[in-house]
Amino acid sequence: MGFDMSAIHLKDLNIFYGDTQVVHDVTLDVAAGESFALVGESGSGKSTILKAIMGLAPDWTGAIEVDGKPRSHGPDRAFSRQCQMVFQDPYGSLHPRKTIDATLAEPLLIHGLKNRDARVVELLGEVGLDARFRFRFPHQLSGGQRQRVAIARALALEPRFLLLDEPTSALDVSIQAEILNLLKRLRKERGLTYLMVTHNLPVVAFMCDRLAVMRHGRIEEIASAEALKTGALATPYARELYRLSNPEETAEEQP
């Protein structure tokens, strides 16, 4: 699997909520195996792009292709085998009345997969959760443990693409480090492609190969992680975000 073919391809994407257009003419390509970040302020449309890819924001024009196949405007069973999403808030994204076992078995059941019992145990192991968590409820888990469950659920169907919507912004820094390490390891082991939304530029520097800076629903700039690390960003807005995210270092440069 190389970086040459485009795994997620968005072209002239416009997304609407009713009469309001929230994403304007977004064109970007994510290569297979790449980790790509969408960054920007609240309301810049970055999460909406993930939702449109998943079929959760059906009102769009333009083109969305994943793995060479055009996406429909709604949820799609075959597509969900390919691509899964992890949400920001692990307190909101797990069913409170379902055990971890039921949560992880559900996608397997829907897709009629066999060996569910063994798979659930395997999934827990892959995200670093002890088997004793299997029959607990979400409220008996900490935020970091819940996010591990959410990641395990996303991996249940062995997708090749993960859409990550601020996967660590609800967590403490020490837990964030654990989850970021986990995501990085899983990507390496399974050759996953990540499209990740975040507002945290240092997280991008740690996790991603490239990033798109968004503002008011448009892409301002697409840059490499190297350019981000050295602050070599082209547009004034991206440089401003860099400066605000990195006050210590940039303050030293000024006399």
Partner: protein
Amino acid sequence: MSLLDIQNLTVTFPTPRGPVNVVDGVSLTLGQERLGIVGESGSGKSMTGRAILGLVRPPGVVKADRMAFEGQELQGLSDRAMRKIRGARISMVMQDPKFSLNPVMTVGRQIEEALRTHESLPRRALKARVAEMLEAVRIHDPERVMDLYPHEVSGGMGQRIMIAMMLIPRPRILIADEPTSALDVSVQGQVLDLIDELVRENGMGLMLVSHDLHLVGRYCDRVMVMNAGRVVEVLDAKNLHAAQHPYTKGLLAAVPRMNETRAELPTLDRSQWAST
């Protein structure tokens, strides 16, 4: 004399497995300075702030050898006496303006109410003070903003309105509990600069509660690091990077950096010091 003097503060909650001290013997003093309290979820940092204001609800129990504000013991004060201190003398900015502003009351009315509760002023003077306060938090057209409802303002403006509301009775101490974690990076700096400026200008004491060590290091004079209800370490903010305790060091190292080169982030080995 320090503004706030707390000795051996304990906050206890009953659990099925017996009482748990969520704050466990914390002592601190606060003068006209900026003190940061840092820790992870469950470290007791927010409970410490709440205990000072008498906002720990039953079945939580607050005990301290001493909890004095400007020399006056706060424990055992009647609700009525406490209300004269809370808001007027010590006030608190909470995390998310979306949940702490009243959604069915205009911004102007809410700020006015905060003032009216503690001072009786003629109507015109009230309005002038509200407008003046809104200008102080850099809202440039106070007349227009006063008539808006909370859903009509952005998160950053909402938080500035909260700050205006908390500072209008001219308190001596401001407790800011994660005042910017619900805000975008681009607005965070503005809100903290504003708090910083108002605290300095008015010679107040600031207690900034946050999980973000770097942020607290930037905006405070001293930093108190908490874990599992106890104070782990107290440092001068400028010496933050010279922290000695493994917990503080671990927290600092776990944050990704902009010029990140590490393949893996170091994680905390909790078995060393965490009791749970």
